[in-house]
Amino acid sequence: MSRPVAALPASDLGRAVDRSARVSQVLDLGAGSWELTLECPEIATRARPGEFLQVQVDPAPVPLLRRPFSVCRADPAAGTLGIYFGVTGIGTARLAGLTVGDEVRVLGPLGRGYSLPPGPARALCVAGGLGAAPFPFLARALSAAGATVHWLNGAATAGRLYPVERLGAPVDVTVVTQDGSRGVRGVVTDVLPDLLTAADRVYACGPNPMLAAVAALCASAPTPVALEVSLEAPMGCGFGTCLGCALPVGGPEALALCCRQGPVLAAEAVDWPALLALPPAHVA
């Protein structure tokens, strides 16, 4: 369970730029979730799956800090970026209130993203609710790299599922909802063991309890499967100077910065009990 922090490579900021981006589409996906498309060719070209953006939602200092979002889509040809988010506070409420033509500042790409398999592979993406955010981008990249992709898309209820039709990549999809309003009734870990038998690597993003359960299943599978998880933390800067977004990894004192060593970490690097003891990032 413990891997020293020093073993986690930090991202470099060499590809990051801070640009004004025009909002080109605001999509209400229902149940308080939104997808925003931003015109930002430089970052769209530079971003890699699992990396994130720091979005300044208001020129006034309220809210003061930028908001971090996984890159949901990056279309170098169109020069656009997509972010997928739920309204959880004043920052995301402001974003949801933007209209086409508005401008926001976008800093990115930031952080360490998912590692793509070197050759053909069977990839499994496990999404919980808003945790679907990095997977449209990742699924496209995996497909382009020759991997087959299975997407396990879970949410509390059908309205909170990321719309499969927006994925834009050839993927097999298994849908799970806790209330059974679509797909299998249950949680992603109910169906995960079966899917693991046909997966070489697993990518997951969602609530911490879900990620911990996925990590336990991947580690205890008859043939353990490599798992990378995308995590979140209350974040000040996004580029490693405020040291605010520490995540528990390894032993009792080992911490990694979500913004530099993360947001994607190998599951075995994470101190899951300590992570589960933290309040949800958006509460802080």
């Binding site: 003061l64 209350p234 309040p279």
Partner: protein
């Protein structure tokens, strides 16, 4: 002190003991790491100074998360002085700074006077270290005493450090005191070359959903950001009236206008802190705005903006080229 002032602005600022900043806009401790972090993103060599992350005798892992919480026009932090320790800073970081144009001032924190002395001794004479900024208001309590809270304790600490290093010595003051002017006067008398005014304000954020403070432990954190600018301005003005050594103003500066207001109340230089989190180029934009203002107003030195008198018993101008 030049007899003939230059016809155009001299942007430099003399903080004493040979520490001359190329311009008055630096970045505050705890917001810019050790300079390397943002090297790829902004032109750090144009900065007036980099005040490093607080550096302690030995490495510290910092506090358990969560460590930051946003407030209205501000943020609370309880990082817990995460840093690699002075040995790594002196042996690995400083050699890289030695080739930089921007002066790097190492912010120093410790739990007791021997700790402060050990850090500044290790840094003394190390190429690349332009000076030290003493954080006497760190959250660590030695024998129930926070040096920054009491003028006599602060003076004892500064005296000990002054004896231990020939480096330019700036003392960063805590605002969480009854009279910051008294602390400033005490550290000036004890040998500080300059003071930074101010560190963060003690604050608390409560989660109604959780029915407890958001930050762990005591729940309190240091408040920074635009919310504290009026408080910091008042502190700088008070300190300016209390001492004649240079004052580095810090607290909530986001724009050039904010920085210029600090010069009006007596600051000789400024630090941009939390604004960097929002905009990594904030300090450079503040600098460019200040330079544009100076050109438009025909300023020859930043002290031309000063509206606050020096103390009557001050020995005379001691700061700023041409002052």
């Amino acid at each position: 002190m030049t007899a003939a002032a230059p016809a155009t602005l001299d942007p430099r600022v003399d903080l004493g003991r040979g520490l001359v900043l190329p311009n008055p806009v630096g970045v505050a401790s705890g917001t810019f790491g050790y300079g390397f972090e943002l090297e790829q993103l902004v032109d750090i060599q144009r900065l007036g100074a980099i005040f490093s992350k607080g550096t302690t005798p030995r490495s510290r892992p910092g506090n358990r998360p969560p460590r930051v919480a946003e407030t209205t026009a501000g943020m609370l932090n309880a990082i817990g002085l995460q840093n690699p320790g002075v040995e790594a800073v002196a042996s690995e970081y400083a050699p890289r700074w030695a080739g930089w144009r921007v002066p790097v001032v190492v912010n120093v924190a410790a739990e007791d006077i021997p700790g402060y002395v050990a850090v500044v001794r290790r840094l003394a004479g190390v190429p690349g270290v332009a000076g030290v900024e003493l954080n006497i208001s760190c959250p660590n309590i030695a024998h129930g005493l926070d040096f920054g809270q009491d003028p006599q304790a602060a003076a004892r600490c500064v005296e000990a450090v002054r004896r231990a290093t020939p480096a330019p010595l700036i003392v960063k003051l805590s605002p969480n005191v009854t009279d910051i002017g008294a602390v400033a006067a005490a550290v000036a008398a004890a040998g500080a070359d300059a003071v930074s005014v101010v560190n963060t304000y003690l604050g608390l954020k409560v989660s109604l959903a959780l029915r407890r403070p958001v930050l762990p432990g005591a729940g309190t954190g240091g408040l920074s950001g635009p919310a504290i600018k009026p408080l910091a301005l008042a502190a700088v003005r008070r300190v300016r009236q209390a001492v004649s050594i240079p004052v580095v103003g810090v607290g909530g500066i986001q724009t050039a206008a904010d920085a210029l207001e600090f010069f009006v109340v007596g600051a000789d230089a400024v630090q941009v802190g939390t604004a960097t989190f929002r905009n990594p180029a904030a300090a450079l934009e503040v600098l460019d705005g200040c330079l544009a203002y100076a050109a438009a107003q025909g300023l020859r030195r930043w002290t031309d903006l000063r509206a606050t008198a020096r103390p009557a018993d001050a020995p005379g101008p001691t700061v700023g080229p041409g002052a």
